[in-house]
Each structure stands twice: as C-alpha cells, then as structure tokens.
Symmetry: C2
Subunit: 393 residues, 2 copies
C-alpha cells in the first residue's frame, strides 16, 4: 500500500533537475466545467494546482516560521515587492542572497509587481509613461516604480514567479479610463517581458480590464501574443459584486492558453475559489486566513467561528473538532480565546496555524476531487456548507 502511494507520487512529482521551470502538466480536467488539476514546475520545486498561496508580505507569513509552513504543507508563498522594496530594500536582500535565503524558505515564492500597492497604499502618486512616482507610506520618501524597476527588484528577490507591473483599475471605472489603463498595462507588460530574469524565474502577465468584458478579452489576447509563462487575472476583489468578479474571470480566461497556469489575484473566499477553479483558474492568494486569525476568527468546515467572543470562554472543544492541526490537537477554544482576550501573541499564531491548515486542507480536497472526477460534487458540497446555496451555473 505504502509502496503503491510512493510509486504514484514519484510518477506525479517530476525531478526538479530534469523538468525545466515553467513546465505545466495537466493531470486532470473536469468534464462538467473548466476546472483542472495540474503540476507547475518552478526553480524551487513543483506545485500541485489548484493551489492557495499564503501571503508573506514583509518576508514572513505573519507569526509563522518556514518549519511551520512545511508542516502545514504550504507549497508556495507570495511576497510583496512594494513592501520589501521599502523595507529592508534591495541592497539588504541582495546582500543576504535573495528572498529565499533571507527568510529561510526553500520552497517556491511568487512576488507581485508592487503595482497594486503603489495604487492602494502609496501617497502623492503621479503616473508617468514609464511607471509611477509616489511617496512611501512609511516615511514619505519619494520613490519610483515602473516595469523596469519592478522586474529589477523581483530579480533581486529571486522569486520563482515574477509578476508584470500593471495598473489596477478601480471599481467602478469609466470605459474611457479602463481602456487607457489597459493600453498602459499592455505597454508595461511588453517592457516587463524584455527585462532580465533571475535564474529559472518565470514571469506571469496580468489581465486587466475592470468590469468591461471586451477589454478583458482583448487584454488577455494581447498578453498571450507577447507570451508569458502564466497569466494572472488582476483588478478583482476591489469592491465589485461577486457576479462581476466571476464574469471578469470568465472574460479573462477566454483567450488564455489551456497549457499555461492561471492565477486569480487576491481572491480568498473559499466559494469564490471553487467558482474560479470551475472557470479554469489554478492559483490563488489572499490575506484572509492570516488577517482573520489576527482578528480572532477561525475558519472551519462549518464556516467562520469568532473564537475571541465571550461565548467560547469556557468551551473545552478544539477550535475545530476533527481538525488535526497543531492548534486543534493541543488546545481548547477556551485557551485560544483567553490568549486573544489578554493580547498574547500566541493566540494569533495558533489561529494562523489553524486557518492556514484549513485552507491547505480545503485545496487538497479540491485537488483530490478533480483527480477523482468528482469536482461537481465537491463544488455543490462547498456551496452547501459555506453558503447554504446552490452553485451558479
């Protein structure tokens, strides 16, 4: 039995020495939707998709160590170029041998381009033809970030997957604004594609277009014409209703090649993840599991549980019954609630461990459902458990 599993696993996970980074093998495709399971090779190992990437904004998934991430079977992290550019900066990361060595993580890392943060966090922003001038949100220092600078910083970071520098269109936006913005994103994408890369580094282009179907379809097609290792869907989760988000996914995916990975940026609602997978998406990232842990909220199969609430102060059950994470194996809701109530950091750490475990477990079940050809059942069940409703057809 054991040998059988090992043999199958060996066949599924190719040797990193032999398989060039960027190789993406489809392992299963759902008959009733566009969902698929795959295996993406990176310079730091292979990733089973669909995959959820925990966010390590400032060189750490908040409160967690690399050994925790391995124990939680995290496959790939997201790092934020904007934050790491401001602190500690390119020089220190370079001195320390890149982001992997700096943070002690030997698995794959995807870095965003910094575009989203420049538009959402930075102050006194001025958009130029070749990038954005802005003031640091930390100390007001004047900075400039464009396709050239972003790719250079991502080269220093040495991420396995770099993202193109784009403009994130707010919701709502006028068609004129969206159209001009997409044109700029495409010019920047061309520039990004021309920049030097770290060894084995993949680059993903980002489809923008806001709520406008024709813009998204055109943007995707033009990115494919440039040619990237993978494609992301950006400009979502910016306040638009869920149907607009999902239509944005559908519009973006139309012209994307079947054999390249697709990444939906910043979406972490589990039902939305399942719906995006059904529309052909392979990769996700979101701060939800870590941020909710800091707010004292636990993700469980039955939905969110506000562990910090007084209702749990005498509750001797684990955060989630039946869960085999370190938090649930060892501690009660009463204890975790106490830690959160008195401001002990350990409470946040334990809930972070649980929430990341919940996400990893959910994605593993999703991948298993795809491999076993029961994705539609998984999708229906996810809706029933998490939304008490039927999936949209």
């Amino acid at each position: 039995m054991q040998n059988g599993i090992e043999r199958v696993a060996a066949a599924v996970v190719p040797d990193a020495e032999q398989v060039p980074p960027g190789t993406f093998r489809l392992l299963a495709e759902d008959a009733g939707s566009q969902a698929r399971a795959g295996l993406l090779q990176t310079a730091h190992g292979a990733i089973e998709t669909p995959v959820f990437m925990p966010v390590g904004t400032q060189g750490t998934v908040k409160t967690l160590e690399p050994r925790d991430l391995h124990e939680l079977q995290v496959q790939i992290l997201l790092g934020n170029t904007y934050h790491l550019l401001l602190r500690p900066g390119a020089e220190i990361i370079s001195t320390c041998g890149g982001l992997h060595r700096f943070m002690g993580w030997d698995g794959p890392i995807l870095t965003d381009s910094g575009g989203f943060q420049v538009f959402s966090l930075a102050k006194l922003r001025r958009i130029r033809e070749n990038g954005v001038e802005f003031n640091s949100h930390i100390d007001g220092a004047r900075c400039f970030l464009g396709p050239v600078e972003s790719m250079a910083m991502q080269r220093v970071l040495g991420s396995d997957i770099a993202m193109t520098f784009d403009e994130c269109i707010p919701y709502p936006a006028t068609p004129e604004y969206a159209c001009q913005s997409v044109a700029k994103t495409l010019r920047w994408a061309v520039l990004c594609a021309e920049q030097a890369r770290a060894p084995g580094q993949l680059v993903f282009g980002i489809v923008q277009g806001g709520e406008y179907s024709d813009l998204r379809v055109r943007c995707a097609a033009e990115l494919v014409a440039i040619g990237f290792d993978g494609y992301a869907i950006g400009g979502v989760s910016v306040g638009e209703p869920e149907p607009v988000l999902l239509r944005g996914v559908e519009d973006s995916v139309v012209h994307l090649p079947r054999e390249r990975p697709r990444y939906l940026m910043g979406v972490g609602d589990l039902v939305q993840i399942v719906e995006a997978v059904a529309r052909g998406v392979d990769m996700f990232d979101c701060v939800i599991p870590t941020r909710h842990a800091r707010n004292g909220s636990a993700f469980t199969r039955a939905g969110r549980v506000p562990i910090k609430a007084g209702a749990y102060k005498q509750d001797t059950r684990p955060v989630e019954e039946g869960c085999d994470c370190y938090c649930c194996r060892n501690f009660t809701r009463a204890y975790v609630r106490h830690l959160l109530n008195v401001g002990e950091i350990l409470g946040v750490r334990l809930l972070t461990i649980h929430n990341i475990h919940r996400y990893m477990d959910f994605m593993q079940e999703l991948r298993r459902a795809l491999r076993q050809g029961v994705f539609s059942e998984f999708r229906r069940e996810a809706w029933a458990r998490l939304r008490s409703a039927r999936p949209q057809e």
Copy 2:
C-alpha cells in the same frame, strides 16, 4: 557510548512513579562555595537544579508553544497567580482541568502567590489582617487576595510548586515597617501551610526582611519551624544595589536546611545567578530573556546584542555565532533585525527562542561545572565574559 549515557541518565533521573514529589537529592556540592547540584521531584517530573524558570505570566511563555519549550529543554515554568486569577479566572481554569491542561504543558509549573503583583500592579490597595483588598489593574474590579484565597487559586491551577502569600518589602524601608511586615508574612505563611493542596503539590515559604540581616535570619528560621517543601528568598530585585541583594541571599540561607531546595525570586542577571548559586540557591525565575527579546535585544556568550539596531541591518551572521538554537541555525541578524524593524511578531518569537536557549544552555553548563567539580572556574569565567571583572569573594 550512547548506552553509557543512557545508563547514567536512568540512574540520575528517578522514576516519577516511585519517587514522591518533594524529594530533593543533592548530586554534587562545591568544595569552595555553598553551590550544589540537585534533583527535585515534582508531580510532573524531576528538575535538575540549579534551574532557571522562564515566566509564563498569562498561561504562555510569550510567543512560545509547549513544543518550543520542550525543544528548548525548559524544565519548569513559572505562572502568575494574580494574572490568571483576573483573566481567565478560577472558573475557566477549573473547567479546563487546571493550568497544565489549559496551556497544554505537561512539565512542572511553579506558581507565585500573587503577593508581589498585588503590591506592584494593583490599585487602591488596602492591607487587611487576612490579606489585601485591591482594584484589578485591568478593569478596576474590587478583589481580595490573602493566604487562603491565594492557596485556593494555586490549588485550582494545580501547580507543582505553590508559593506562600507574602508581603514584598520595598527598598528602602524603615526597620519598623520591615519588622511588622515580616511578622505579617509569617502569620500568612502559617495560614498558607494549613490550606489544602492539589495532589502532589509542594509549598515553598518565602523569606522576607528587606535589607535587614537580623530580620531575614529570623524570618528564615521561623519558616523552617513551620516546615515547607522548599524556601524562597523574596523581596529582592526591587531596586537595591547588588551587594545588598547578595547579602540578603546570604542572610536568608543561613538557617535553611541543606536538604531543601532554595529559590531566589525574580533574579535573572546571569552573573547574579552564578553568585546566588555560590551562596546555595537552586532555582531562579525572571522575565529578562523574554522581555529583552520583545525589546529587540539578544543574550549571547559575549553579552547583550541590540539586534534591532541599524548596525545589524546587513549583518549576515546568525544572532550568535556557534549557537544551535532554531533562530541561529536558520536566520541572519539582518533578517531578525528586519522583522523587528517592521514590527513583525516573528522577530520577537525568534529572539525569544534564542534568549531562552541561551539561558537554558548557561544553566546546563553551570550544572555540568558543579557535577565536574569545576564551579569556581565556571564562576570566574562567567564574570570575565559577562562583567569583565572578578567574582566577589
């Protein structure tokens, strides 16, 4: 070789089933001082002394989990009765089966009596014959804590070692005040000795007397007449100069029985620990290693290193070269400094791991020196490394 070590270890560490809690075996005594190495049996296992107890004020050693404490070879923790009484309170701890089960720690725990915190933290304090009325420093709620209440709470906590409820004399204090205070501490000690205990729970009496030798000598003698499982030296580290502290230790120890453990409360300076060991002390606790971690300061063999300082921002060495803790095995000063600089909790956690490791390692070396009959060399070397001076004779 391996077998030899195991055989010796088996002979040294008795089976908890067979050895009753409170048994204290002296394993080595220094010829040139009063220092000794021993083995104290508790209901949750044996403790090799001299021992340092990390402080777990609110049911956790800040940022650390039980598995971390085991990995760091922490033998025994200190819990604070005052803090746990206010939050989460006796009822919740009781519902959760005591402090060990509440916090998931299966090793020994010593709880203080709450006396020190009532005098240092609580507001609107009014000292009564049978205890202290005070307002909680959290929400101002009116509370009462005396020998009866403290022992009851420590019984609920189920600590392996409970401390008597005492009055901590400030420094300086008039002889009249100190004399009356010691009389009260002794009356309270009698009451504490009469209270019911948790199964296997030991009770230590606390020697007070401030800076007055005669008071300390008398207090110790009277406590011994009452009879406790061990004796603590309290009312130190309250602002007095080091010579006064060490004389207080000497005065307190005079009448303490050789065959009972002695605990110096709240002292965590490593040279002071060595000097107290030389004066016959076996147990220590202090917030220093954890608090300094939160302030960005690392303990090393060469003294303290302010890792948070800008000087370390490009330093690719570990926090302490040659250290084999998780932090030093995996991360650079530049990384830990970055985490502290951007406010990432992980920085505090990594430094806490390192600092506790440093303390555990120091105490292990101290015990080894005692066993090998080279304590005077260890003492001299500790002074040279940590104070650049000679020990006081």
